[in-house]
Protein backbone atom coordinates (compact mmCIF):
# COMPACT_ATOMS: atom_id res chain seq x y z
CA UNK A 1 0.00 0.00 0.00
CA UNK A 2 2.71 2.40 1.00
CA UNK A 3 4.68 1.57 -2.10
CA UNK A 4 1.65 2.19 -4.34
CA UNK A 5 1.10 5.59 -2.77
CA UNK A 6 4.71 6.48 -3.26
CA UNK A 7 4.49 5.45 -6.89
CA UNK A 8 1.35 7.56 -7.35
CA UNK A 9 3.05 10.57 -5.83
CA UNK A 10 6.03 10.07 -8.03
CA UNK A 11 3.81 10.01 -11.11
CA UNK A 12 2.05 13.17 -10.01
CA UNK A 13 5.26 15.07 -9.40
CA UNK A 14 6.60 13.94 -12.75
CA UNK A 15 3.75 15.85 -14.41
CA UNK A 16 5.19 19.07 -13.08
CA UNK A 17 7.64 20.39 -15.59
CA UNK A 18 8.09 19.12 -19.09
CA UNK A 19 6.08 16.14 -20.26
CA UNK A 20 5.21 14.80 -23.64
CA UNK A 21 1.59 14.69 -24.61
CA UNK A 22 0.50 13.65 -28.10
CA UNK A 23 3.98 14.37 -29.36
CA UNK A 24 3.80 18.01 -28.25
CA UNK A 25 5.67 19.49 -25.36
CA UNK A 26 3.74 20.71 -22.35
CA UNK A 27 5.10 22.73 -19.48
CA UNK A 28 2.79 21.89 -16.60
CA UNK A 29 2.80 23.69 -13.25
CA UNK A 30 1.15 22.58 -10.03
CA UNK A 31 -0.79 24.71 -7.54
CA UNK A 32 2.27 25.22 -5.32
CA UNK A 33 4.64 26.15 -8.15
CA UNK A 34 6.04 29.62 -8.73
CA UNK A 35 7.42 31.00 -11.99
CA UNK A 36 9.09 34.40 -12.07
CA UNK A 37 10.70 35.85 -15.19
CA UNK A 38 10.38 35.26 -18.91
CA UNK A 39 9.43 31.93 -20.46
CA UNK A 40 9.58 31.40 -24.20
CA UNK A 41 8.47 27.88 -24.92
CA UNK A 42 7.93 25.70 -27.98
CA UNK A 43 4.82 23.88 -26.80
CA UNK A 44 1.92 24.43 -24.44
CA UNK A 45 1.84 25.74 -20.88
CA UNK A 46 -0.50 24.79 -18.08
CA UNK A 47 -0.10 27.58 -15.53
CA UNK A 48 -1.05 27.08 -11.92
CA UNK A 49 0.24 28.50 -8.66
CA UNK A 50 1.91 31.86 -9.16
CA UNK A 51 3.31 33.29 -12.39
CA UNK A 52 5.00 36.68 -12.74
CA UNK A 53 6.69 38.06 -15.83
CA UNK A 54 6.17 37.01 -19.42
CA UNK A 55 5.04 33.77 -21.06
CA UNK A 56 5.21 33.38 -24.85
CA UNK A 57 4.47 29.98 -26.32
CA UNK A 58 3.90 28.46 -29.74
CA UNK A 59 1.10 26.27 -28.41
CA UNK A 60 -1.70 26.94 -25.97
CA UNK A 61 -1.78 28.59 -22.54
CA UNK A 62 -4.14 27.31 -19.93
CA UNK A 63 -4.43 29.14 -16.60
CA UNK A 64 -5.95 27.04 -13.83
CA UNK A 65 -8.75 28.29 -11.60
CA UNK A 66 -6.61 28.71 -8.51
CA UNK A 67 -3.73 30.38 -10.29
CA UNK A 68 -2.55 33.95 -9.78
CA UNK A 69 -0.87 35.39 -12.86
CA UNK A 70 0.72 38.81 -13.28
CA UNK A 71 2.26 38.42 -16.67
CA UNK A 72 2.16 39.10 -20.37
CA UNK A 73 0.66 36.00 -21.99
CA UNK A 74 0.92 35.07 -25.65
CA UNK A 75 -0.23 31.81 -27.18
CA UNK A 76 -2.35 30.28 -29.92
CA UNK A 77 -5.36 29.36 -27.78
CA UNK A 78 -5.46 30.95 -24.35
CA UNK A 79 -7.90 29.64 -21.75
CA UNK A 80 -8.22 31.51 -18.47
CA UNK A 81 -9.98 30.13 -15.43
CA UNK A 82 -8.06 31.94 -12.73
CA UNK A 83 -6.96 35.47 -11.93
CA UNK A 84 -4.80 37.23 -14.50
CA UNK A 85 -3.33 40.70 -14.55
CA UNK A 86 -1.54 41.70 -17.73
CA UNK A 87 -1.77 41.87 -21.48
CA UNK A 88 -3.06 38.75 -23.23
CA UNK A 89 -2.56 37.92 -26.89
CA UNK A 90 -4.31 34.93 -28.42
CA UNK A 91 -3.30 34.25 -32.01
CA UNK A 92 -6.41 32.15 -32.33
CA UNK A 93 -8.93 32.12 -29.49
CA UNK A 94 -9.17 33.51 -25.97
CA UNK A 95 -11.63 31.86 -23.60
CA UNK A 96 -12.58 33.37 -20.25
CA UNK A 97 -14.14 30.74 -18.01
CA UNK A 98 -16.91 31.56 -15.56
CA UNK A 99 -14.52 32.15 -12.66
CA UNK A 100 -11.88 34.03 -14.67
CA UNK A 101 -10.85 37.51 -13.61
CA UNK A 102 -8.79 39.37 -16.19
CA UNK A 103 -7.57 42.92 -15.94
CA UNK A 104 -5.50 43.91 -18.91
CA UNK A 105 -5.72 44.63 -22.59
CA UNK A 106 -6.36 41.73 -24.93
CA UNK A 107 -5.73 41.11 -28.60
CA UNK A 108 -7.48 38.11 -30.08
CA UNK A 109 -8.75 36.57 -33.28
CA UNK A 110 -11.72 34.92 -31.59
CA UNK A 111 -13.17 35.57 -28.18
CA UNK A 112 -15.46 33.65 -25.88
CA UNK A 113 -16.50 35.02 -22.49
CA UNK A 114 -18.58 32.80 -20.25
CA UNK A 115 -21.18 34.26 -17.90
CA UNK A 116 -19.57 35.03 -14.57
CA UNK A 117 -16.18 36.04 -15.93
CA UNK A 118 -14.83 39.49 -15.10
CA UNK A 119 -12.94 41.57 -17.66
CA UNK A 120 -11.46 45.03 -17.37
CA UNK A 121 -9.46 46.26 -20.33
CA UNK A 122 -9.38 47.05 -24.02
CA UNK A 123 -10.39 44.34 -26.47
CA UNK A 124 -8.91 44.33 -29.95
CA UNK A 125 -10.09 41.73 -32.39
CA UNK A 126 -8.47 40.95 -35.73
CA UNK A 127 -9.87 39.33 -38.87
CA UNK A 128 -12.89 41.57 -39.18
CA UNK A 129 -14.90 40.82 -42.28
CA UNK A 130 -15.53 44.46 -42.99
CA UNK A 131 -12.01 45.65 -42.34
CA UNK A 132 -10.38 46.10 -45.71
CA UNK A 133 -6.91 46.55 -44.28
CA UNK A 134 -6.07 43.78 -41.87
CA UNK A 135 -3.87 44.48 -38.90
Amino acid sequence: MDVQEAVAEGTASAENGEVKRDGRKQFSMGPGDILEGKLIYDGSVHADGKVEGEVRVTGNIDVASGASVKALLEGANVTLKGQVEGMVTARDKLTLGKNARLSGDIQVRRLQIDDGATLNGHVRMGDFEHQASGQ
Binding site: K93, T95, L111, I113, D115, A117, L119, E129
Partner: protein, 147 residues
Protein backbone atom coordinates in the same frame (compact mmCIF):
# COMPACT_ATOMS: atom_id res chain seq x y z
CA UNK B 1 -53.99 65.63 -44.79
CA UNK B 2 -51.51 64.64 -42.18
CA UNK B 3 -49.16 61.74 -42.68
CA UNK B 4 -49.23 60.54 -39.15
CA UNK B 5 -51.31 60.99 -36.08
CA UNK B 6 -48.32 60.23 -33.90
CA UNK B 7 -47.57 63.57 -32.48
CA UNK B 8 -44.72 63.98 -30.00
CA UNK B 9 -47.27 64.96 -27.41
CA UNK B 10 -49.09 61.65 -27.75
CA UNK B 11 -45.83 59.78 -27.36
CA UNK B 12 -45.05 61.61 -24.17
CA UNK B 13 -48.28 60.35 -22.68
CA UNK B 14 -47.28 56.71 -23.15
CA UNK B 15 -46.55 55.35 -19.71
CA UNK B 16 -43.27 53.49 -19.29
CA UNK B 17 -43.94 50.22 -17.48
CA UNK B 18 -41.82 49.91 -14.38
CA UNK B 19 -39.60 46.91 -13.85
CA UNK B 20 -41.73 43.98 -12.72
CA UNK B 21 -44.68 46.24 -13.05
CA UNK B 22 -48.37 45.51 -13.09
CA UNK B 23 -48.13 43.16 -16.09
CA UNK B 24 -45.53 41.06 -14.26
CA UNK B 25 -42.93 41.50 -17.02
CA UNK B 26 -39.96 43.74 -17.26
CA UNK B 27 -40.13 46.36 -19.95
CA UNK B 28 -38.50 44.96 -23.07
CA UNK B 29 -37.63 46.66 -26.33
CA UNK B 30 -36.84 44.67 -29.46
CA UNK B 31 -35.04 45.96 -32.54
CA UNK B 32 -35.66 43.31 -35.20
CA UNK B 33 -33.39 42.25 -38.07
CA UNK B 34 -34.78 44.91 -40.40
CA UNK B 35 -34.77 47.68 -37.81
CA UNK B 36 -32.14 50.37 -37.73
CA UNK B 37 -31.33 52.98 -35.12
CA UNK B 38 -29.05 55.97 -35.50
CA UNK B 39 -28.63 57.98 -32.32
CA UNK B 40 -28.93 57.29 -28.63
CA UNK B 41 -31.28 55.01 -26.76
CA UNK B 42 -31.97 54.74 -23.04
CA UNK B 43 -34.30 51.93 -21.95
CA UNK B 44 -35.68 51.22 -18.50
CA UNK B 45 -35.71 47.47 -18.92
CA UNK B 46 -34.22 44.99 -21.38
CA UNK B 47 -33.09 45.57 -24.94
CA UNK B 48 -32.80 42.97 -27.69
CA UNK B 49 -30.98 44.01 -30.84
CA UNK B 50 -30.86 41.91 -33.98
CA UNK B 51 -30.82 44.88 -36.32
CA UNK B 52 -28.22 47.57 -36.72
CA UNK B 53 -27.44 50.39 -34.32
CA UNK B 54 -25.15 53.35 -34.89
CA UNK B 55 -24.95 55.09 -31.56
CA UNK B 56 -24.99 54.62 -27.83
CA UNK B 57 -27.20 52.18 -25.96
CA UNK B 58 -28.04 52.17 -22.27
CA UNK B 59 -30.43 49.82 -20.48
CA UNK B 60 -31.22 49.32 -16.80
CA UNK B 61 -31.66 45.58 -17.40
CA UNK B 62 -30.03 43.25 -19.92
CA UNK B 63 -28.85 44.02 -23.43
CA UNK B 64 -28.68 41.20 -25.92
CA UNK B 65 -27.14 41.59 -29.34
CA UNK B 66 -28.35 38.50 -31.14
CA UNK B 67 -28.73 37.06 -34.61
CA UNK B 68 -26.86 39.20 -37.08
CA UNK B 69 -27.23 42.29 -34.91
CA UNK B 70 -24.60 44.99 -35.30
CA UNK B 71 -23.92 47.72 -32.78
CA UNK B 72 -21.40 50.46 -33.37
CA UNK B 73 -21.23 52.66 -30.27
CA UNK B 74 -20.93 52.70 -26.50
CA UNK B 75 -22.97 50.15 -24.56
CA UNK B 76 -24.01 50.37 -20.92
CA UNK B 77 -26.03 47.56 -19.35
CA UNK B 78 -26.78 47.79 -15.64
CA UNK B 79 -27.09 44.02 -15.60
CA UNK B 80 -25.94 41.72 -18.36
CA UNK B 81 -24.65 42.12 -21.91
CA UNK B 82 -24.78 39.15 -24.27
CA UNK B 83 -23.15 39.20 -27.70
CA UNK B 84 -24.28 36.29 -29.88
CA UNK B 85 -22.09 34.20 -32.14
CA UNK B 86 -23.10 35.99 -35.34
CA UNK B 87 -23.45 39.42 -33.75
CA UNK B 88 -21.04 42.31 -33.76
CA UNK B 89 -20.22 44.99 -31.19
CA UNK B 90 -17.64 47.58 -32.11
CA UNK B 91 -17.65 49.92 -29.16
CA UNK B 92 -15.71 52.66 -27.51
CA UNK B 93 -16.78 51.91 -23.96
CA UNK B 94 -18.59 48.83 -22.69
CA UNK B 95 -19.81 49.20 -19.10
CA UNK B 96 -21.64 46.15 -17.79
CA UNK B 97 -22.12 44.14 -14.63
CA UNK B 98 -22.06 40.78 -16.39
CA UNK B 99 -20.75 39.90 -19.83
CA UNK B 100 -21.19 36.93 -22.12
CA UNK B 101 -19.50 36.81 -25.50
CA UNK B 102 -20.19 33.76 -27.62
CA UNK B 103 -17.54 32.22 -29.82
CA UNK B 104 -17.68 33.75 -33.29
CA UNK B 105 -18.88 37.16 -32.14
CA UNK B 106 -17.07 40.26 -33.31
CA UNK B 107 -16.25 42.28 -30.24
CA UNK B 108 -13.94 45.16 -29.53
CA UNK B 109 -13.87 48.06 -27.13
CA UNK B 110 -12.87 49.06 -23.62
CA UNK B 111 -14.61 46.79 -21.15
CA UNK B 112 -15.30 47.93 -17.57
CA UNK B 113 -16.80 45.45 -15.15
CA UNK B 114 -16.86 44.98 -11.43
CA UNK B 115 -17.62 48.51 -10.39
CA UNK B 116 -21.31 49.13 -9.81
CA UNK B 117 -22.73 50.86 -12.84
CA UNK B 118 -24.19 54.12 -11.71
CA UNK B 119 -27.18 55.71 -13.29
CA UNK B 120 -25.29 58.47 -15.01
CA UNK B 121 -27.89 59.26 -17.63
CA UNK B 122 -30.75 59.59 -15.23
CA UNK B 123 -31.96 63.16 -15.31
CA UNK B 124 -31.79 64.86 -11.99
CA UNK B 125 -35.10 66.29 -10.99
CA UNK B 126 -34.72 69.96 -10.35
CA UNK B 127 -36.66 70.87 -7.27
CA UNK B 128 -37.08 74.59 -6.91
CA UNK B 129 -35.86 75.71 -3.56
CA UNK B 130 -38.75 76.82 -1.43
CA UNK B 131 -38.46 80.47 -0.79
CA UNK B 132 -38.86 81.06 2.89
CA UNK B 133 -40.53 84.30 3.50
CA UNK B 134 -39.78 85.55 6.91
CA UNK B 135 -42.39 88.08 7.88
CA UNK B 136 -40.78 91.15 9.23
CA UNK B 137 -41.78 91.84 12.78
CA UNK B 138 -44.25 94.62 12.73
CA UNK B 139 -42.90 97.75 14.17
CA UNK B 140 -45.25 99.22 16.60
CA UNK B 141 -46.06 102.53 15.09
CA UNK B 142 -46.57 105.47 17.22
CA UNK B 143 -49.49 106.51 15.08
CA UNK B 144 -51.43 103.25 15.66
CA UNK B 145 -50.99 103.34 19.37
CA UNK B 146 -52.06 106.83 19.77
CA UNK B 147 -55.08 107.04 21.96
Amino acid sequence: MTLSTRRPASRLATPVPAENGSNGHRNSVVLGPNDRLVGQLYIEGDLHVSGSVEGNLEATGDIEIAGSGKVNGDVTAYNRLTVGSDASLIAGDVRVARLTVEDGAKFSGKVSMGQPVSKVAEPVAVVPEPVVVVPEPEKPTQKGKRR
